[in-house]
Symmetry: C2
Subunit: 167 residues, 2 copies
Amino acid sequence: MTGRTTSQKAVKTPAKTQATGGIKMGVLPELMGYMLRQCQLLVYQDFHHAVGDEHIRPPQFSLLEIVNANPGIRPSDVSTSLGISRANLVPLLSELEGRGWMVRKGDKHDGRAQALHLTRAGVAQLARLHELVIPHEQRLAARLGPVGRDILLKLLHALVTETADKA
Amino acid sequence: MTGRTTSQKAVKTPAKTQATGGIKMGVLPELMGYMLRQCQLLVYQDFHHAVGDEHIRPPQFSLLEIVNANPGIRPSDVSTSLGISRANLVPLLSELEGRGWMVRKGDKHDGRAQALHLTRAGVAQLARLHELVIPHEQRLAARLGPVGRDILLKLLHALVTETADKA
């Protein structure tokens, strides 16, 4: 009944992307938006299986990662960097603080601003998460062939890079 | 002030995917889950710009598409096919019905079951949406080079296809 055990088996597909069981999908499988959404749901589901025992969801992991990489980062910069609205960020920060993984200190340059830091427990938690996330990523990458993951990441980066639009 | 006008310009990037403004992103840009999420947010944002005047979001579009492709489809099959939970599907169906684009009829084989059909107005609305979605897709595809979109879709299909996992 543990998520860890389930994750050793095949990853469930959250939805159909091609005609199966007699259901026709119309133009949906040809649309990047639909396919990106289906893939994101699948990967998040597998993430949940991989790290479920830690009770961490992807936004919390991203938050630990960015605070670890940028000690003293301000909440507003976290919002901008991760694309999380301030309204959604506040409860996430409180939760990580409540779990003893993060602290908010006054910024030494600006008394009103907050500076975020991981605690020693937070750093240890993040290291543990990295150990769980790596096999999760590898398991999914195995579906794409030897160079498939690299090509996928390159294309996804091209899609979100604004400058590419000007070409 | 219209979404249509905005959509003619560059698509906004919802979040950073690489170090910018001095913020380091850690391992996030190397994770498929993080990148898929950022791309999905970007594509949904562009979808909103493209069809914003129609007040249609991607799940409503998918619903119109699948009912059009499968006249008489049952709500349970829509749930399974699109990966939308029944709880989330019910208000979506009511909304499309309220806008005069869809009707629920009794299934001729099973009196208790519902059969979904688009109205003539629903079919016309979907045709109008296709005209808006095609340039939205092309605008994003332009970021990926001539064959980039095809390769991306192929990789995304491989990622969600369960059988590929057995290789």
